[in-house]
C-alpha cells in the first residue's frame, strides 16, 4: 500500500495518512464485532443454562419440604396385647398402629361418623405414620400407656394440595380431595396443627410406593457403593496402565495399537458397556443382579479409558529434566516413577479420576442393562445386596404415574447435580492446591 | 576466576621483585668493583647477570599464560602489562651493570685517576632512583613514582658534569685517556639506569592511575 509521502522528511507520516486511518478503523470495527459475537454466544449459553436450572429448581424445591399434621397420640395399652413388664418385640411390632392413628384423628374431629367418612379422615395421614409410631415404640417401650404430641406425615395428596396454594390454586376437576377433606385440612391449619417442615424423609429413607414416604437415601447408598467399587478398580488399574504406557512400553506397532484402542474405547456409547456387563458379569460369572458389585465393574470398564488417557497426559507433562536428574543420580526407572513422576503427576491424575467418577455417577444406560432398575425399598448394606443408583432412581420416578413424584424427580435431580458440582469442585480445588507446590 | 588470577599475579610480582633485587645487587657490585678497583668482583657480575635473564624468560611465560588463560581487564590488565615492561627495563639495567663492570675491570688494570665528585653523586642518585622505583612498584605508590620522575633532571645534569670534567681531564692528561673514557662510559651507563628507573616509575603510575605519562613533555611540545 504505497503512499505518496516524503518519507525522508517525516518517516512517521506514512502511518498518519487517511488510507491508513480507514484501515485502522475497519480493523477496530471487526474486532468489536467479534467480541460482541462472543459475548452474545456466552450470554445465550448462560441464559439456556439458567433456564434449565431454574425449571428444575422450581419443580424440585418443594421436594425438600413435607406437610406434617400434629396429633395427640395416646398409646393405649389395650392395643398392645400381652404388654407386661417385658413385652416381646413381636407383640410390639404386631400391634395395631393404624388404630392409634385413627384414634388420634378422631380425637381432633369427634363428629365424624360413618365408615366412608372415617376412611376419608384416615386418608389424611400417610400410611407411613404407622411405621414411625411402630419404630418409636420398639425403640422405647415405655411409651406404652403415655400420651404424646406427634408431628405425623400427611398424605401426598394433602401435601400437594398445600403446595399448590390450597383450593384457590386448583380447578375443581383436578382435585383428588373431597370437600370434606379440604374442610378438615383447613380446620387443622386454623388450629395450628399443620406445618410444612423440612422433609428429612426425602433424604433418609429408601424408595416407596407412597410418594410422601419415598426418599433417595437408598439410591445414594447404592450409588456410593457402586462408585467405591468403580474407584477401587479404576484408580490402580488406570494409573498402572498409564505409567506402563508412558514410561516403560517400547515404541512399536503393538503399543501404537493399544493406544489407538484405548482412545476409541473412551468414545464408545455407555450402553455398550452395559451389554458387556450383562453378558460377562451376569451371564458368564453369574454375579447377583442389580448389585453395586456388578454396577461398579461395568462402570469401571467404561471409565477406565478416560482415566488412562488423563493419567498419561499428566505423566507426560512432568518435565523430562526431572527424570534426567533422577536417572543421573543413579535412580532406577521404577524409582524415578515412584519418587518423582507420580507425585508430580498426581494432581492431574486425581483431577482426571474425579471427573471420570463424576461421569460414572451420572450414567444410567449401563446400569439399566444390568438390571439396577428394580424397585428396591431396603437400603443396601454390602456390594452384593440389590440396590439402585441415583440416575436410575430419577428415571424410575419420572416414569411413575403419581403426580407427587414429579417434584421428587426434580428434587433428586437437584441432589445429583449437587454431588456432581461438589465432585468437580473438589477436582478443581485439588488441582489448584497441588499446582501451587510446583 | 579471581583466585587463579591472583595466584598468577603473586608469582609474577614475586619474580619481578626478585629480578629487581638482583639488578640492584649487581649494579652495586659493579660500582664497588669500580670504586675498589676489584677485577675479581667485576668478573662475578657477568655470572650474576645470567640469573636476571632466566627470571625474564620466566616472567615472559607467566605473562603469556595470564593473558591467555585469564583474559584480565582493567587494573589487572595494566598490572600484567606493567610487569612485562618493567622486566624489560630491569634486564637492561642488568646489561648496563655488566658494562659498568667491564669498565671497572679495565680501570683496575690501569693506574688510578681521581673520581670526579659528580660521579659518586651520580652513582648514588642512580642507585637511589632504581631502588625507589622498585619500592613504588611494590607498594603501587604513585607519589613515590613521581618523586623518582622529579630526580631525572638532576641525574642528567650530574652526567653532563662528569662528561665535562672528563673532557677537560682528557686535555690535561692524555696519557690516562683509557681511564677517562671509561669513566665517561660509566657515567652514561648510570644515566641510562636512571632512565630505566624513570620508565619503571611511569609504569607504576599507569597501574595506579590509569594514565600514560610517557614522553608527556615531548608530546605536549609537538602537538
Amino acid at each position: 500500500m504505497s503512499v505518496p509521502v516524503d518519507e525522508e522528511a517525516n518517516p512517521g507520516a506514512r502511518w498518519a495518512s487517511p488510507a491508513m486511518q480507514e484501515h485502522l478503523r475497519r480493523r477496530h470495527r471487526a474486532e468489536r464485532r467479534f467480541r460482541r459475537a462472543g459475548a452474545i454466544a456466552i450470554g445465550l449459553a448462560l441464559l439456556g443454562l439458567a433456564t434449565l436450572l431454574a425449571s428444575i429448581a422450581v419443580n424440585g424445591w418443594s421436594a425438600f419440604r413435607a406437610t406434617e399434621i400434629r396429633l395427640d397420640v395416646v398409646f393405649d395399652p389395650a392395643l398392645f396385647a400381652g404388654a407386661g413388664d417385658a413385652p416381646e418385640a413381636r407383640d410390639l411390632a404386631g400391634a395395631d398402629y393404624a388404630a392409634l392413628v385413627r384414634n388420634a384423628l378422631r380425637a381432633q374431629f369427634p363428629d365424624v361418623e360413618g365408615r366412608a367418612a372415617l376412611r376419608e379422615l384416615g386418608a389424611l395421614v400417610s400410611a407411613g405414620a404407622r411405621e414411625e409410631l411402630r419404630a418409636a415404640v420398639i425403640a422405647d417401650p415405655a411409651l406404652i400407656g403415655s400420651s404424646r404430641t406427634w408431628w405425623l406425615p400427611a398424605d401426598d395428596e394433602v401435601d400437594l394440595y398445600r403446595k399448590r396454594g390450597g383450593a384457590a390454586g386448583v380447578a375443581a376437576s383436578d382435585r383428588h380431595l373431597s370437600d370434606a377433606q379440604i374442610a378438615w385440612i383447613d380446620q387443622l391449619a386454623a388450629r395450628g396443627r399443620l406445618r410444612s417442615a423440612f422433609a428429612t424423609r426425602f433424604l433418609t429413607s429408601g424408595d416407596s410406593r407412597d410418594p410422601e414416604l419415598a426418599g433417595i437415601w437408598g439410591a445414594v447408598v447404592g450409588s456410593f457403593l457402586t462408585l467405591i467399587v468403580t474407584l477401587s478398580l479404576v484408580f490402580p488399574l488406570g494409573v498402572s496402565a498409564a505409567v506402563y504406557l508412558e514410561e516403560f512400553a517400547p515404541r512399536n506397532r503393538a503399543t501404537d495399537l493399544i493406544e489407538v484402542n484405548i482412545n476409541n474405547l473412551a468414545a464408545v456409547p455407555s450402553i455398550v458397556f452395559g451389554l458387556l456387563g450383562l453378558a460377562v458379569f451376569l451371564g458368564f460369572f453369574g454375579l447377583p443382579r442389580s448389585a453395586p458389585l456388578v454396577g461398579g465393574l461395568t462402570l469401571a470398564l467404561m471409565t477406565l479409558p478416560t482415566v488412562i488417557i488423563t493419567a498419561r497426559v499428566a505423566i507426560a507433562a512432568v518435565p523430562p529434566s526431572i527424570r534426567e536428574a533422577g536417572r543421573g543420580l543413579g535412580a532406577s526407572p521404577l524409582q524415578v516413577v515412584l519418587h518423582h513422576v507420580l507425585p508430580l503427576a498426581m494432581p492431574g491424575i486425581l483431577t482426571g479420576t474425579i471427573i471420570g467418577m463424576a461421569r460414572a455417577l451420572g450414567e444410567t444406560a449401563p446400569l439399566l442393562m444390568i438390571g439396577m432398575v428394580a424397585f428396591i425399598v431396603d437400603i443396601p448394606h454390602s456390594i452384593r445386596d440389590a440396590a439402585t443408583a441415583l440416575p436410575v432412581q430419577i428415571y424410575l420416578w419420572a416414569d411413575s404415574p403419581e403426580r407427587a413424584f414429579v417434584e421428587k424427580t426434580s428434587g433428586a435431580i437437584l441432589v445429583l447435580l449437587g454431588f456432581l458440582v461438589a465432585m468437580n469442585g473438589t477436582a478443581i480445588w485439588l488441582r489448584r492446591r497441588f499446582e501451587k507446590r510446583w | 576466576m579471581s583466585r587463579a588470577f591472583d595466584g598468577m599475579m603473586e608469582g609474577l610480582r614475586g619474580n619481578l621483585l626478585r629480578m629487581g633485587g638482583r639488578s640492584e645487587a649487581i649494579l652495586d657490585k659493579a660500582l664497588r668493583a669500580l670504586w675498589e678497583r676489584d677485577a675479581r668482583l667485576a668478573q662475578e657480575v657477568a655470572d650474576d647477570d645470567v640469573e636476571i635473564d632466566r627470571l625474564e624468560v620466566a616472567i615472559d611465560e607467566g605473562v603469556l599464560k595470564a593473558l591467555a588463560l585469564q583474559a584480565p581487564v582493567a587494573e589487572d590488565l595494566r598490572e600484567v602489562l606493567a610487569v612485562k615492561m618493567i622486566a624489560i627495563d630491569l634486564e637492561r639495567v642488568g646489561d648496563l651493570a655488566r658494562n659498568i663492570a667491564k669498565s671497572a675491570a679495565r680501570s683496575a688494570a690501569n693506574p688510578p685517576i681521581p673520581f670526579p665528585a659528580a660521579l659518586t653523586s651520580l652513582a648514588r642518585a642512580s642507585q637511589r632512583v632504581l631502588r625507589r622505583s622498585l619500592d613504588a612498584f611494590s607498594r603501587t605508590d604513585a607519589d613515590l613514582a613521581r618523586a623518582v620522575l622529579a630526580e631525572d633532571d638532576a641525574i642528567d645534569r650530574a652526567q653532563d658534569e662528569v662528561v665535562q670534567a672528563m673532557l677537560r681531564a682528557l686535555e690535561r692528561q692524555p696519557t690516562a685517556a683509557s681511564q677517562e673514557v671509561d669513566l665517561i662510559m660509566v657515567a652514561k651507563h648510570l644515566e641510562r639506569v636512571g632512565d630505566h628507573a624513570t620508565n619503571i616509575a611511569e609504569d607504576v603510575i599507569l597501574v595506579a592511575e590509569a594514565r600514560n605519562i610517557k614522553h608527556a613533555a615531548k608530546l605536549a611540545r609537538s602537538s
Binding site: I322, E324, R327, G328, G330 | M1, A68
Partner: protein, 278 residues
Amino acid sequence: MAEPRVAREIAGIAPEPARGAAAPGGAAVKMRARGVHVWYGDNHALQDVDLDITRGEVTALIGPSGCGKSTLLRCFNRMNDAIPGCRVTGDLLLDDQPIYGGGIDVEQLRARVGMVFQKPNPFPKAIFDNVAYGPRIHGLARKRSELEEIVERSLTRAGLWDEVKDRLDEPGNALSGGQQQRLCIARAIAVDPEVVLMDEPCSALDPIATARIEELIYELRGRYAIAIVTHNMQQAARVSQRTAFFHLGVLVEQGPTEEIFTNPRVQRTSDYITGRYG
C-alpha cells in the same frame, strides 16, 4: 593417539598441586575412553575418541555446536542409554573396569560418576530432600543423623550451606538460578562420586552466578575428577587444566590448557580459539 604429557613447573606460578596426583607425569586416571565411536541411528556422531579424565584435574571439552562433546560426556555415565537408536562402541573404563557390557550396575555407575546438567533441575522437594535423595536410594546413611551430616557436608562443599542452613525445608526451586545450580552440584556430590561430569553448567546463569560456580569448580577439582563441556572458551581457559577440542565428531587436539590457548598445534584449533572459525 597418545598425547605427550609435558610436565611444566613454572617457578612460582604453578597452581596448588592437586591432591591425588601421583606425579605430574603419572596422575591418577579415573576414566578412560579408547577408540570410542557413537552412532545416533545412521549419524556417526563421534569418531574414534581417546581421552582420559584424571583425578585432581578439570578437563574441558570445547568445540562448536554439534561437535560431539556432550555426546562423549554422556557416554561416561551411560546417559546415552536412554536415547533410542544410540550405539556406542569402543572401550570406556572407570578405574580400568569397562562400564558397558554388563560388568557394572548402571545405577551404581551413576552414583560413582555424577552429572550436573545445563539447566538447573532441582527436584520440587525440600532442599534437604534434594541433597539427601542420592544417599537415600543408594543406602549410604543408616541413621537420620548420618544423613544430616552428609547433607551439611555436601552443601558446604558446594558453597551453599550458609545461605540455606536455616531453610532446609523450603522447596529447591524457590532458590535463584545460581543457587539452584549449586544445589544440583551439592546433590551430585552428596553420594561422594569419583567423577563429576558437567554439561555446560553455567550457560543458563548470569555472570555473577557463573563466576561463583567457576570458583566452586576450581575448589572441587582437588577432590574429584571433573570433566566439563562448555561452549565458552574463556571459561575453559579459566577453569581447566586439560582441554580437548572437538569438531564434527572428531577429537582434533587435546593437551594442557595453557598450551592449547597459547600455542595450539592444529590450525583448526587455532581458528576456533581465535574466533576465526565459521
